[in-house]
Symmetry: C2
Subunit: 432 residues, 2 copies
């Protein structure tokens, strides 16, 4: 009864060292909650000399051997990246050891393969920490809402881009200036590509969509635009129509009309959302995920999306669950892919656009512009025209239309002689 | 493999009929998620004639016999109230049948007894729907945060009072007027006592505190004040200091200083919170629960706290979980009471107060008033004095002090000759 459960910790960076500290500090509580002590059997790192603060006898450079050790019951993977994490996790699962991972990139790329390995071995693969850090999100989607039908999951799941966009809104700064500030303050990494180009958010979107719609979705299925093209003008135009600009990860179930079955649209791009939307006030480095379900209605989950301690909290929650399952000889509720819905390309996905145009202020211009929208079967929801001298500003918000029709409309507008400039184009979400 | 799991549904009011409809509408999805079909074996109601829309052959007035039927695997209790729900749930658990309940009053009164019965029989007792309706909250507290230490759980968990307070803030109306409006619109029941006097919120606070702190807490342990004494003046004074008034359910871990171990303080009362607090913008009939944990930091959960469909969504999520556990021959993670912390009386609980006073505007009055606070060892955080003629208004916000010291200070102020009137007294939460 008191034989401890032994954990192999793979990786000991910011998250790994926080996991190590929490396991030690909360030893008594973990014992009570799991039913047995939980002990770290070993810590696999690349350079032991870089880890002077951890018990040296636990360190090893041979992660494979650590995972394979007979006395290791559970594996926590916080290395990140595809390899060697993938090989190590597969080896652990095949050896009948449940795995807790924080690895969004790997889960988004290879989720089905890893889940199949876990299911085959009858063990658990949990990864709450992979999306939105400390926010309990995957478990609620997978379990709490298991009796409901999800319609949409819309998240602010990348703190770096949210910090940058928040600062642009607060200070009027351009993207480059706000990025430089984020880098100085440590909110952006030296190479911020994964964040600002939306790769990080796209991986999380794939994981969320897979769980929400019981459908395998990989990172490559996700349409992705980053925030580097968002201008101070976009942010200012958003404020003028009562909106704010956020980088959103959007997972939607789309009705296919006369075709068979529904499909799933998964996309990451900057969008204007009304300041009254629950996501609009999520500032700085916080994350939040908004969920719409048939019966439950609107839900929102909010908290810290990154950082060693918050991520470690999610890892430990999973560790308690897989430890309890192991003691009970059971495995928890994994994701299911039974629905296997088609993933809809962005071109066919219904979206809405905001467009600000500088046009010549003379009779017939509005009619010409409006005709271009109509020609692409895009319906206009609101239009505002402000004249100033011989020029005018046109601000148009469309109704929902296939994204391809909207982008074709914008391309056509750019070529029209009466349009002197397109000053802002952004998708709009959350307007009624 | 295709033998269905059979469910006894106890009660068929707003929630029960929504549960019945969802089980039928989502039959295919439930089968895929559970691994077997889920069927309703019978529905226990008091007056079958009142339920013309449900399959008549399923109706019975003999709930006890339904629960005892050999072919019934699982029991869903949505009757509410203490009896007969308590007897029926105990009978089900003792017969080895897992139970899903939405019964906050019963769980808050008799949680430990019911959990003991479930543990003894090795079956599940789940009740996500009992607190904050559709919001996944109990499962995240119990499981996702199982590797963390919770500091505070602060919730807006009663939609009726939140609607009334929201309307008072929007319109300047008094309590009676806003209550009348809520009653007209169906947001308040004909007898609104359970809501406006805080009994409903106190039951939910007891359940939240039990889970958050691994300590049995009953409704009678919860300090409780309702909102009927909140005046239009309180709401106006709150706005003046950048706050809004909410009825809060507050569960806190309190360090005991030089005594042994920590204790738990659980209370329900109206309070001023800063308009910048994540809970401040939760309006109307919505619920939200704010959580502070050592490692995870700040979290918030937001959604619909009541209504047939949202509550049924939570019931079905639990139903899928207990059905899967039954098929796996396992039981899920129940609450634990191992920490068994002392419940701290309100008198010893540290709180902060806002007080608005009408005083005589002459030399020495502020000193006299300040002395009264000091005499009770209450430290003043901010004070604002506005003179008008021979009278002045004093607005004082204290630092944290034992609630008894604060209420004794207020009582003493009321008796002071220089104090012409105490125009508003409310606790303050969430100020830094």
């Amino acid at each position: 009864m008191t034989k401890p459960l032994k954990v192999a910790l793979l990786g000991c960076g910011t998250v790994g060292s926080a996991v190590l500290r929490l396991i030690s500090e909360q030893a008594d509580d973990l014992t009570a909650r799991v039913g047995r002590p939980v002990e770290v059997a070993g810590i696999a790192v690349r350079r032991p000399a870089h880890h002077p603060d951890v018990p040296q006898h636990l360190l090893t450079t041979d992660a494979e051997a650590l995972v394979a050790r007979d006395d290791v019951d559970l594996v926590v993977e916080v290395i990140g990246g595809i390899e060697p994490a993938r090989t190590l996790i597969l080896a652990a699962l095949e050896a009948g050891k449940s795995v807790v991972s924080a690895n969004k990139a790997l889960l988004a790329d290879d989720g089905p393969l890893l889940h199949a390995a876990a299911a085959k071995a009858g063990v658990d693969l949990y990864y709450e920490a992979a999306v939105a850090g400390a926010i309990p999100l995957l478990r609620p989607l997978r379990e709490s809402l298991a009796g409901d039908q999800l319609r949409r999951v819309v998240g602010i799941v990348n703190g770096t881009t949210n910090y940058i966009l928040s600062r642009m809104a607060e200070t009027g700064a351009g993207f480059a200036e706000a990025l430089a500030e984020a880098t100085d303050l440590g909110y952006a990494e030296a190479d911020p590509t994964a964040d600002i180009d939306g790769f990080d958010a796209a991986a999380k979107a794939a994981i969320l969509a897979s769980l929400a719609f019981h459908t395998p979705v990989s990172a490559i299925d996700v349409y992705r635009e980053g925030i580097s093209a968002v201008s101070a003008s976009d942010v200012a135009r958003a404020a003028e129509i009562g909106c704010t600009v956020k980088l959103l990860a959007i997972c939607e179930r789309v009705e296919n009309g006369n075709e068979d079955g529904d499909s799933v649209a998964v996309r990451v791009h900057p969008a204007m959302i009304p300041t009254t939307h629950p996501l609009a006030s999520v500032g700085g480095a916080f994350n939040a995920v908004y969920v719409e379900a048939e019966a439950a209605g609107q839900l929102m989950f909010y908290g810290q999306g990154a950082g060693g301690e918050p991520t470690a909290s999610a890892v430990l929650g999973d560790l308690v669950a897989v430890a309890r399952n192991r003691l009970a000889g059971a495995s928890g509720q994994g994701p299911t892919g039974y629905a296997n819905l088609a993933v809809r390309p962005i071109a066919d996905t219904p979206t809405r656009y905001h467009v600000s145009l500088d046009v010549a202020d003379r009779p017939g211009v509005l009619a010409t512009v409006a005709h271009e929208f109509a020609r692409h079967e895009v319906s206009i929801a609101t239009v505002r025209q402000d004249g100033h001298g011989d020029a005018a500003t046109l601000v148009i918000v469309t109704h929902s239309a296939p994204d391809a029709a909207l982008s074709a409309t914008i391309a056509a507008l750019r070529d029209m002689p009466v349009v002197r400039g397109v000053t802002s184009v952004l998708r709009v979400e959350g307007l009624s």
